[in-house]
Symmetry: C2
């Protein structure tokens, strides 16, 4: 029995250690001063870690969540054949502001609901830097990576903190919204605010949320993909699934994240110039776009990559914006190659 | 002077004749029994004619309006280098039901506003047949042609009245909506009905209409086209123009036309089978689709064309659904060739 127990412990203990690291953790980073001059008081940032920090602290990768995502869901993107493998890296998944885990209209006691201030992609990045410096005691990253709103943050990290990381990876994201993106997100705002009860926050079955979810489904994939995966005969079931969306969505959280998306512009401090913003970047970048992306227009990311002479991977999947999932294996291989170089 | 007057009359009189023909005319076709069993009472159908009917009455072409269009706007599609030239043909532009000219929620005295019954694409086609038989005394057409909702009617004409026309031309339209189309139009309905005042009908600056117009702009062109034609710096102007839309739009008219679009299915009488519907078609067809069309998915039209062994022209314009305008010259040439054969 004694021998058996020891063997079991040898197997189980390291597993427990990994599992603990992957659990939701909350860092209290104090008041967060925003670009607007306002403040998120007693700001909390959620995160999870995977893998081990090496003794030189040179293998840390920051991976912030996309619009509407939580770090819990992002764990499915970690592993072999996924976006990033935690064998070599210490991966820090961060809950982006207003995702219902980090400080958000839905969970703030001092600034609840509509009292929670608007913030920008730059504020998200600033909150993450404070998490790294204050809680994780990291002054340098191997890389920042992310898809969609997470990739917007990777662009902003590269511009805001040029020396902080060796590399940055942006997947189906943009450094600066185009007229198309602005039209989409302003439409999403109108859809959300069309709901007479949206200010109350938590809702699960109201028309404004239905419309917002349907608008997202319309653009997440290409029409060709939607048609080939959803028979006309099953439309009612399809619509009710799409309209429903995640049932823990809070309207005010969603609103603040949409407003953050609308702020996307690495050129904001440079008179709107992508070229000037690109000139500040010191990290190597891998930019991955999906040519048929109808959520994030791929043009500015491709332009920015060319300005940086960065590695640009243009996917042409009819999966559209969801290439971050449909093409995960291919993206993961490109990311692994890029990080090793 | 006498000679001059005679010369002037020779020039002016035929012109007057043409101009008179092009003017808005209204036909009273009596009560229109609908597929649903309901009725549009004292139904009025608006139309305009171009060119001359030949003595064999063999050159008449019916051209119904698209969603939200009136025959007045469609006149810009007639002429050399346009969709159809009236030199050889007697072109009858028809105002589709609920477009604010033909019987509509906005103009019906006996069935105003929400009292105006829902109707289908088949009902539009039936109203047009009554116009031809009762008012224009035409029992046969050279062709039915149309783009978008007009093209949906061309498909339905070919299936509902197989012997009535020699040819049918459908441009950026569909014989049967896909899950994508259904999602788009159900979203449009939700957008319209999100406006608390939509039942009152006429509105010019309300959020539901803004959202509906923005949704249309998002899908009318490809993202690439929108981005290349609208600089980010001009976004505010662009959005206010797109959100505004036509200022004479009536919410109930728009609602009924959206519901008609949602009924699009030439297979409705054939258990939903496109193949069975295709077997009834006797007219030759020209089917023109736009591969990057994000308003009307091109797949069912292409499938239907193949079932009919019909001529299929697949455009690949980044103008998307608006290919009916951007590619007007090319489409016009294909239509002219097809009609002459």
């Amino acid at each position: 029995m004694k021998t058996r127990l020891t063997l079991a412990m040898l197997v189980v203990l390291p597993l427990l250690q990994v599992v603990q690291g992957q659990e939701q953790q909350l860092a209290h980073i104090g008041d967060l001063r925003l670009d607007s001059g306002e403040m998120i008081s007693d700001c909390v940032i959620g995160y999870r870690t995977f893998g081990k920090l090496n003794k030189y602290k040179s293998n840390a990768i920051l991976f912030p969540t996309a619009f509407g995502w939580r770090s819990a869901a992002l764990t499915s993107r970690i592993g072999q054949g996924k976006l990033i493998d935690a064998d070599k890296y210490f991966v820090i998944l961060v809950d982006s502001l207003a995702n219902g885990v980090s400080s958000s209209p839905s969970n703030s006691k001092s600034q609840p609901g509509v009292e929670f201030p608007e913030f920008s992609i730059r504020d998200m990045v600033s909150s993450e830097q404070q998490l790294l410096l204050g809680t994780l005691h990291l002054r340098h990253l191997r890389a920042v990576m992310g898809f969609s709103m997470g990739g917007m943050q990777a662009f902003q990290w590269a511009v805001s903190y040029p020396g902080f990381m060796d590399k940055a990876v942006s997947i189906v994201a943009s450094p600066q919204l185009t007229a198309y993106d602005l039209l989409l997100w302003h439409s999403s705002l109108l859809a959300l605010e069309s709901d007479p009860d949206w200010k109350k926050g938590h809702y699960t079955s109201q028309p404004g949320l239905h419309l917002l979810n349907m608008l997202q489904t319309l653009t997440l994939y290409t029409p060709r993909y939607l048609v080939s995966h959803n028979p006309r005969a099953d439309y009612q079931k399809f619509e009710s699934e799409q309209a429903q969306g995640p049932d823990d969505l809070d309207a005010n959280d969603t609103l603040r994240q949409i407003q953050a998306l609308l702020s996307t512009d690495v050129g904001a401090s440079f008179g709107g110039s992508l070229q000037a913003a690109a000139a500040t970047v010191r990290s190597q970048m891998l930019v991955i776009v999906s040519k048929q992306d109808h959520v994030v227009n791929p043009q500015p990311a491709a332009d920015f990559a060319r300005m940086l002479h960065a590695q640009l991977l243009e996917l042409d999947s009819d999966c559209g914006h969801r290439a971050h999932t449909c093409e995960m294996k291919r993206i993961g291989e490109a990311v692994a190659d890029f990080l090793e170089k």
